[in-house]
Symmetry: none
Subunit: 225 residues, 2 copies
């Protein structure tokens, strides 16, 4: 499904132009003429991204962004600002903007920025499936763990587990997160099952002696390389 964008822009001509352009580039766009209506639109639908003009009547972009953050801090926000607007620009970032675009809008740049923000926020479904761990490389799709010399083919669960670890390499991966993601439920048996898989993964990862999965007692695991 194409990403859904909430566009709030009071300038009708620019607003319509942007909407048309974004739709041409396969985004779904909901255009609203001011902050108040933008907010109520945000209330009634799910969006993947908000594109907000800063200078607007009724409710300005920054205030709207604050309201949006209160409702759902996960949805990224990009501001549209006038070229001169330097101080406001900074305030905008302070209030949790993910990016901003200076008017007049360069359409290609806009697309690029939107895609960059979406890539970061939605670890996309097509997504990265190749990871490097020390000297090893791991491809989640083909479930191969590669040494340079030899290749080990992991099982489904092992691969899923390793992917989670890779996504938080050198950071704590919480046990509960794993159980919720891969088993859907946190109970004693799933926990034990996970430990078994972890043991198998450790064995596979011995291909590179520097790679280890360390345990944080009572919390989770860290994949270190």
């Amino acid at each position: 499904m194409n990403p859904k964008i909430l566009l709030v822009e009071d300038d009708k001509i620019l607003g319509y132009a942007l909407k048309t352009y974004l739709e041409m580039r396969h985004f779904q766009v909901n255009l609203q003429p001011n902050g108040a209506e933008g907010l109520s639109a945000f209330n009634s639908e799910q969006f993947d991204l908000c594109l907000l003009d800063v200078m607007m009547p009724i409710m300005d972009g920054f205030t709207l962004a604050e309201e949006i953050r209160k409702l759902n801090p996960a949805v990224p926000v990009i501001f549209l600002t006038a070229r001169s607007m330097k101080i406001d620009k900074l305030q905008g970032f302070q209030k949790g903007a993910d990016d901003y675009i200076v008017k007049p809008v360069d359409e290609e740049e806009l697309i690029a920025r939107i895609q960059a923000v979406l890539r970061r926020t939605n670890p996309s479904p097509v997504s990265i499936s190749s990871y490097s761990i020390g000297t090893l490389s791991f491809d989640w799709h083909s479930r191969r763990l590669n040494d340079g010399a030899q290749t080990v083919i992991l099982t489904d669960k092992e691969a899923d587990l390793l992917r989670l670890l890779c996504e938080r390499k050198n950071q704590l991966l919480d046990r509960k997160v794993v159980l919720q993601e891969l088993w859907g439920k946190v109970d004693y048996f799933n926990r034990r099952s996970m430990d078994v898989h972890m043991a198998k993964l450790r064995k596979h990862l011995q291909l590179d002696p520097k790679v280890t999965i360390i345990n944080i007692h009572g919390k989770g695991f860290i994949l270190e390389d």
Copy 2:
């Protein structure tokens, strides 16, 4: 702990100026003069963010960014580009830039963009879990206390205790507050238990000789650095 930035810039004057400015703003900066050395620096340390000049001898910024992504796709990249460079700019985004800055660099804007990118990539806006104590860094979430050289993994209670101390660094932390927060009850045994944990913490904190936990008789403790 302050964010660690890998800065790769071949212009020595600009590079040094940026490094100085960023350090003034409490970032840790590793400055490298070209792509090759930038890559090897990236290999040997963990960074929170990379700031790469696009036009460089030996290895240009885009190529470097690609190599960096291969090693760790989670680390955000910001490019430094010349004003005119439009097509390259877009290529940069395609190759996974998180943002770019047009030269000549506006320092405040640079800081704002860095902070924006870091806020997005570092997942915990809710509760701060990273503290610095003297030369040490402590991450409550993963319970790691870091020296630069070595890392000690604390236990749950130790980590909780250290967090409380950090939150009131160089101020009195009342015994009763600790007991109420971490044990839920103030009695003789909990008090003794806390003292045991305190002793262990002191031992860990010997990593930096300047850091001490001093006792205020009958009142509580002060973490000094």
